[in-house]
Symmetry: C2
Subunit: 207 residues, 2 copies
DNA sequence: ACCTGAACACCGTTCAAGT
DNA sequence: ACCTGAACACCGTTCAAGT
């Protein structure tokens, strides 16, 4: 798809490194995502990567941004009510993260280091401000939503890994595909309902 | 305080290792908490640690459990209403975590690996079940609360570290000690209010 | 602009052997 | 019961030098 694809076979550009690193992540998981392994599978010396990224942390930040970019490029319906937009944004973020192995831990780490992955927070914030909430409240509410989405996705991907390693399959009392999604929806509803109580148009507020 | 304290000067027991490792964590941070460094500061070979812990992950799990144990040994008032008990439990958990450098990331990691640190979830769960909620709902609600507390504490400790490293001091538009606490209380209230809407005694429920 | 080759200062873990 | 000594198979990062 890119202009000079297939012509250069030795030299890589930044985007090539990101793309290959994402493959390594999805095939081998975050613990095996080392600079040396990315370089080896890319047919290059480890030191070559430092031409494109000043550190491993910055490479991880680029991976997180790319994962989120690939999964959240669809614009939500601007005519939908704010709570539907917020719920949709959280679901899109979750889906983007679940599309890559160990992406939840990766995004959480990058987010914790403050290097990137701010786009989801900004979008949730904007939706809440557009809905009439105070900006400072919108920031805190968006942060709470993000903590929930990242935490839930992290738990989910860990259990996937634990089961694939060969441990007992947890508690499959539930069809296994509807179970996790239901608990995600429930937690999300708790927070969205709490936000709704603070809406300027809310009739009554709790302590 | 312990029976043979001060008598043995070469051989360590499990609790000694945990105690010393907590010191290393608090003085040097999680990135520098290596088996080799713990061993060195303890005056012992790295391999000696494997007599007490089968792996680094299990040592980290013991550290997390100890941090939580030290910070949450006070029983909440059993006569208080459920929401006060839940809020108190979340605050105690947060205080326990903020007492040690990088403890949020440590506890989150251990929790993600499923090796320990289940006590806080169990307590929140019990409080909610005692309050009359369905056990399955109580589990999901407790999980949502835990994700929030851990996520918020992780953000907070990262910003502490970022500021101590020498970066610009973020956004000190607020007295800096009341600011973070207020955003924690707000996020916590969002979730608790969402839970309250699901209480059996609630008059009306949202979608 | 992108890469090599070699080095530096580390890791977690295992294992035979000691006391 | 607890530790040593030595090894194995790795890390991230730097830097002069090449093309």
């Amino acid at each position: 798809m890119s202009p000079d694809d297939g012509m250069s076979h030795m030299r890589n550009r930044r985007a090539d490194v990101v793309d290959h690193a994402l493959g390594v992540l999805d095939r081998h998981g975050l613990p095996d995502l080392s600079m040396r392994r990315i370089a080896a599978e890319l047919g290059v010396q480890p030191s070559a990567l430092y031409h494109h990224f000043a550190s491993k942390q910055l490479l991880l930040a680029a991976l997180a941004d790319e994962i989120l970019r690939r999964g959240t490029h669809t614009q939500p319906d601007p005519d939908a009510p704010w709570d539907e937009r917020v719920r949709g944004g959280c679901h899109a973020l979750r889906d983007a993260i679940l599309a890559y192995r160990d992406a939840a831990e990766l995004v959480a780490t990058v987010h914790a280091f403050g290097l990137g992955a701010h786009e989801p927070h900004r979008r949730l914030c904007d939706d809440l401000v557009d809905a009439g909430f105070e900006p400072s409240f919108a920031r805190d509410a968006a942060t709470t939503l993000l903590h929930f989405v990242l935490g839930h996705a992290t738990d989910e991907q860990l259990h996937l890994q634990a089961n694939s390693v060969g441990a007992i399959d947890d508690a499959p009392l539930v069809p296994a595909d509807s179970g996790r999604g239901a608990s995600f929806d429930l937690g999300l509803s708790l927070i969205v309902d709490g936000i709704r109580l603070r809406h300027p148009s809310a009739s009554a507020a709790a302590s």
